[in-house]
Amino acid sequence: MRTMAAAPAVPAALVLEQATQAQTPAARPAGQPIANGKRDAVGEPVAHFFTAPQLAALRRLSDLLMPPMKGEPGALDAGVPEFLDFLIGQSPADRKQLYRSGLDMLNAHAAKQFGKPFAELDAKQADAIVRPLLVLVPWSFELPKEPGARFLAAAHDDIRTATRNSREVSAAAVAAGRRPLGAQLYFLPVDPIYKG
């Protein structure tokens, strides 16, 4: 608006001439989409689901379980905590509860053992809380029964997958001259039921 308001030091006739020239549209290759942006490349995710202490604990856990390795982005670089806030917020009630109580448990352990929230623990302190909850999961289709171990197994898997499947990890692979991971054939919806 400010530029519009400032009177242009260009004669009106010239403005008209430029406008006429500008009416010749740029050539656009057939079939090339006009929307060239990506939602997550322009927008910041907004966390809605977890409480602030839960999200802070999830951030610390994500960084602990999936740190940047071998020059590849880690879970925090890949926006995993914010993505999981969205994913778990959309999930069935038992999944929501598993995460909420699991993150609360991490904070409770941290307060009891170190007198501060899980988010503020150093690597050694965080390890003292997480290590006892790590159990072998030989069969990935069934999570451990014990609630703490169950939460950690679920979160570990989700954090790893969300990191691997991120734009950031793939872009880093391409930048390093490796093949990007993850592209697969997506099966489009077929003739959905007519809704009028």
Partner: protein, 524 residues
């Protein structure tokens, strides 16, 4: 205006319906095929996408397909929507019913492993000392297996063993065995187990479906009409004769109901959908066994070992890669004295990696372990046979209907000691052989998926000579309604460890040839 009466109405267009249409139309019989789903062009319907460009970053939409373990965000649209067409089960006894509704059905997506059943399965009662045998033997089905193998271009290695019958195979090029596959082959052979190779349908142009191998021949006769989006609700019968005379079907989009007339009805809607249709129609159940003896295969048992010489990302040339298939080796003789009957096949694959859950590590320490074992792992998994039991059944749940108002199934299936004992034996046996090879066990589990997961559900409409204990006779013809045939997996008496499709196809071909002969002789 009265519409045409068709010779045969075929319900379902997957492998078994496609085979029925192919056989019948080529014998001059006019067929109408109704399929509940739309047509799909697989060459156009799949596009390459990165997971971060999908709404849920490659995770499936939460809660969308709770029973389909195979589902992910990429393939979610190929499965039946569980909200559109629900089914029920006791939460304590999960059943994972994995369904597809397109013209071509599950034949569009199957794994293509193609094994024959043997007389250890057909003649199960004698081998097991309990249960029931089929009313046919391998010799009865042999010519139909051979013709089916020619159509599907099955490749395999002949072994000359009756419990793993050879077929009409194309030569398969398995390449030379890697040294790890040789080693496990020697170890298994020393224990008296046959070691073979995968037998698979090659099909044509990358597909081995009803749509490209069976239906084109049927359409070429000019005797077949295929109507998609036609959901059959009920089979109708002539009150005077008790014979089937057509069916009501509902348009998938408009929900308008129509009726079609036919002289013969062939059900090929898939094991549980054919059974559901018969139950909803109130037909073919004078025996009281319709819906019962529902079986499928036991999958999920897994043992993973790491080969020390192949670790660290430097696999010596020729050491890893390839597979060994051990066809059933348990209870081949009577009186082996085991705590389970029947048996399992075992697949041992060379060259995979480890899973994160195998280690109590995270972050960089975990990554070091994964890198160490990458490409150095041997994975044993099994194809187990479940025991048919009367109490394992599907029935109609009158309180729940699908999106078209059709009552759904309630499925009630439990595993028993035989399944648990078999799974334990399989895991122990794989572990023992891998240890004998000098490999380190990284993971061993004798857990397995709930029933249904293998997508090899069969039975629930079984064949037999006795109309009091079976629904179909040995020609897949209903004991109660002589002009009605069920040609899908519903007819199985036992499920075997073998992938079920080749047997379904051979049975559908045999039943359809019999039906054509009967129609020609005016016996039907």
């Amino acid at each position: 205006m009265p519409k045409q009466e068709f010779d045969v109405l075929i319900i379902g267009s997957g492998h078994s319906g496609g085979m029925a249409a192919s056989v019948l139309t080529q014998k001059g019989i006019s067929c109408l095929m109704l399929d509940a789903g739309p047509e799909v062009d697989l060459t156009k319907n799949r596009v390459s996408k990165a997971p971060w460009d999908l709404p849920y970053r490659g995770f499936n939409k939460p809660g969308r397909l709770p029973h389909v373990v195979q589902a992910n965000e990429f393939n979610a649209n190929q499965w039946v929507d569980e909200k559109e067409i629900p089914y029920t089960h006791d939460p304590a006894n999960p059943y994972n019913w994995v369904r597809v509704r397109f013209v071509g059905g599950r034949s569009l997506f199957w794994g293509r492993q193609s094994f024959r059943l043997s007389d250890w399965e057909f003649n199960a009662a004698e081998i097991d000392g309990t249960g029931d045998s089929w009313p046919i033997r391998h010799a009865d089905l042999d010519p139909f297996y051979s013709k089916t193998e020619a159509i599907f271009r099955v490749s395999g290695r002949k072994e000359g063993k009756a419990h793993f019958p050879d077929g009409n195979f194309l030569d398969a090029d398995y390449g030379p065995d890697s040294t790890t596959v040789k080693k496990i082959t020697d170890i298994a052979t020393a224990r008296g187990f046959l070691v073979s190779k995968i037998r698979a349908s090659n099909g044509r142009n990358g597909q081995a479906s009803s749509v490209n191998l069976l239906l084109p021949d049927a359409l070429a006769t000019g005797k077949l009409q295929i109507v998609p989006n036609a959901i059959v609700r009920q089979i109708t019968v002539d009150k005077n004769t008790g014979l089937a005379n057509g069916a009501y079907f509902v348009d998938r989009h408009s929900r308008e109901e129509l009726h079609v007339k036919a002289r013969v009805v062939v059900l090929a809607a898939g094991t549980l959908e054919s059974t559901r249709l018969l139950l909803n129609s109130g037909l073919a159940n004078s025996s009281g066994v319709l819906g019962h003896y529902l079986i499928d295969q036991l999958y999920g048992v897994q043992v993973v070992a790491s080969v020390p010489e192949a670790r660290g990302g430097n696999v010596p040339e020729g050491m890893m890669g390839g597979t060994a298939l051990l066809p059933r080796f348990r209870n081949l003789k009577k009186g082996e004295g085991r705590n389970f009957i029947k048996g399992y096949g075992m697949m041992i694959a060379s060259g995979g990696g480890a899973s994160p859950g195998f280690f109590r590590e995270y972050g960089e320490e975990l990554q070091k372990k994964l890198d160490l074992h990458a490409g150095a792992c041997m994975t044993a998994s099994i194809y187990g046979e479940r025991v048919p039991r009367f109490e394992n059944h599907a029935r109609i749940n009158k309180n729940v209907t699908d999106a078209w108002g059709i009552p759904v199934l309630h499925i009630d299936v439990k595993d028993s000691a035989n399944e648990y004992n078999m799974a334990k034996d399989a895991a122990d046996t794989a572990e023992e052989m891998m240890k004998a090879a000098g490999w380190d066990i990284l993971s061993k589990t004798d857990k397995f998926h709930p029933p249904g997961y293998s997508i090899h559900e069969v039975g629930s409409c079984r064949m037999g000579d006795n109309p009091k204990t079976s629904v179909l006779n040995k020609w897949n013809q209903c004991h109660d309604v002589k002009n009605m045939f069920v040609v899908d997996g519903g007819c199985f008496v036992t499920c075997g460890w073998q992938n079920t499709t080749l047997t379904m196809l051979a049975l559908a071909m045999r039943a359809s040839e019999y039906l054509a002969d009967q129609m020609k002789a005016r016996a039907i």
